[in-house]
Amino acid sequence: MKILVAVKRVVDYNVQVRVKPDGTGVETENVKMSMNPPDENAVEEALRIKESGKATEIIAVSIGESKCQETIRTALAMGADRGLHIEVEGIIEPLAVAKILKKIVEKENPGLVLLGKQAIDDDCNQTGQMLSAMLAWSQGAFVSKIEFSGENIQVTREVDEGLEILDLKLPSIVTCDLRLNEPRYASLPNIMKAKKKPLDSLSLKDLNVDITPRIQQIKVEEPPKRQKGIMVSSVEELLQKLKNEAKVI
């Protein structure tokens, strides 16, 4: 079984993002970029599944500008076998990403596609579910545990009330939560080795997908800033403020 893992290049989660003064987006020039955090969990899980003997090949795919190849190299350095880059400029909506991934699934025939549950830039939380619908496959969203049982997988999903356990028919789409596992660091020798692993680049034309935007971004602005309050020096003072000033207790 092949596993396809979707990895997105995003502004690193430690960066304090800044909105561009002209309101067209956030500053991404000269800002540290990384693999979207839950996508690292997706790569890690794929590696563990392969290590357990249940998968034969891991393909990391990223969609976006040419620098996405760095993100793919990170996945290769962690242990993925080969990379696929689909070159697209500008914002690309989850619907379009899902359409592109569908084409790749049709080419590669993976038994499992792993994605992050949410990209930390657009916070859309859509792509995996969309891909699953397009393929008419089973779906495990927001997953913190995957277990194989025969032809199926059992996934533990993080939901609002707690945890939900589902049995999914393979092939399947799983979107990963950060609690799924602890992603490994790529060792230096593996980073060197990753440079020699195959990384193919495809253009949108090769795939014949229509990615015409369906959402027009009108503006991006900073949220209203919260006023910094005061420091109190004791429990008594805190209670007095909450009671008499804020009137919330």
Partner: protein, 316 residues
Amino acid sequence: MILVIAEHNNEYLKSFTLNAIQASSQIESEIDVLVVGNKSDNVAKELSGVPLVKKVLHINSETYDKQLAEDVAPLITNIAEKYDYIIAPATACGKNLMPRVAAMLDVSQISDIIKIEAPDIFVRPIYAGNALATVKSLDSKKIITVRPTSFDPAPSSGGSAPIEEIQSSESAKLSNFIKKEESKSDRPELGTARVVVSGGRGLQSSENFKLITDLADKLNAAVGASRAAVDAGYVGNDFQVGQTGKVVVPELYIAVGISGAIQHLAGMKESKIIVAINKDEEAPIFNVADYGLKADLFEVIPKLTEELSKLNIIKK
């Protein structure tokens, strides 16, 4: 016309559905609600009493007992034709289901909106709420999830909308429900509580987390946690507040032993009053706190709980 997808557990309606209905009413007044469930007549009845609802569509079948996304999405797309909008709350349930519906209809979903500027223009947070994007949907049909805490709940009684029973279809048989592990508690729900007391890694253990629950009980508050506290196993995932957890907007949020990473702030910085208790005066949580107390939580939390017992003035 708008179709709102009701969230429920077959027994009762989840209250965030009312917030989605209220948000919908800012777009237009023709609002139908769809209840997909099993023995869910009560839910349909509850919704029929919501004055903003014009009609309740009810599908009642064993197939939908657990509302698996693979089975529910095709039902929605079957009746989608006459609706211009399909709207659900941006809860784990809505986030699981709606992108499936959107993809089947070839529509780009607008996730987690916090404001409606015009019938086709919405505001939504991006980058963990560090930026707000105003977006225009160019699709003729619009699939939207609504951040429930950004809209009031619609009034829930006084209406008498008709209930129309709809035919069910076959299960897609792609997935099976095994079980659900729900945390049971008598405390208010995290998403809607008036007061939330949250604990972070500063608590150090699940035993110590009792300091948080004791304090919460004195305030009739819900209990929340940072991701670090959940990861460390102090409490379950359903307690997590933040970018990848729940968004809460209580009147009072008390953060204890939480540093205030942007991913945590994403889930609570709209709270009316924020109290931070942390021993590190540099902790970023103090930048958003109305009242900060630099102290060792193991000293001040028991004291705070005790003082509150004396005050005994809890507002419900």
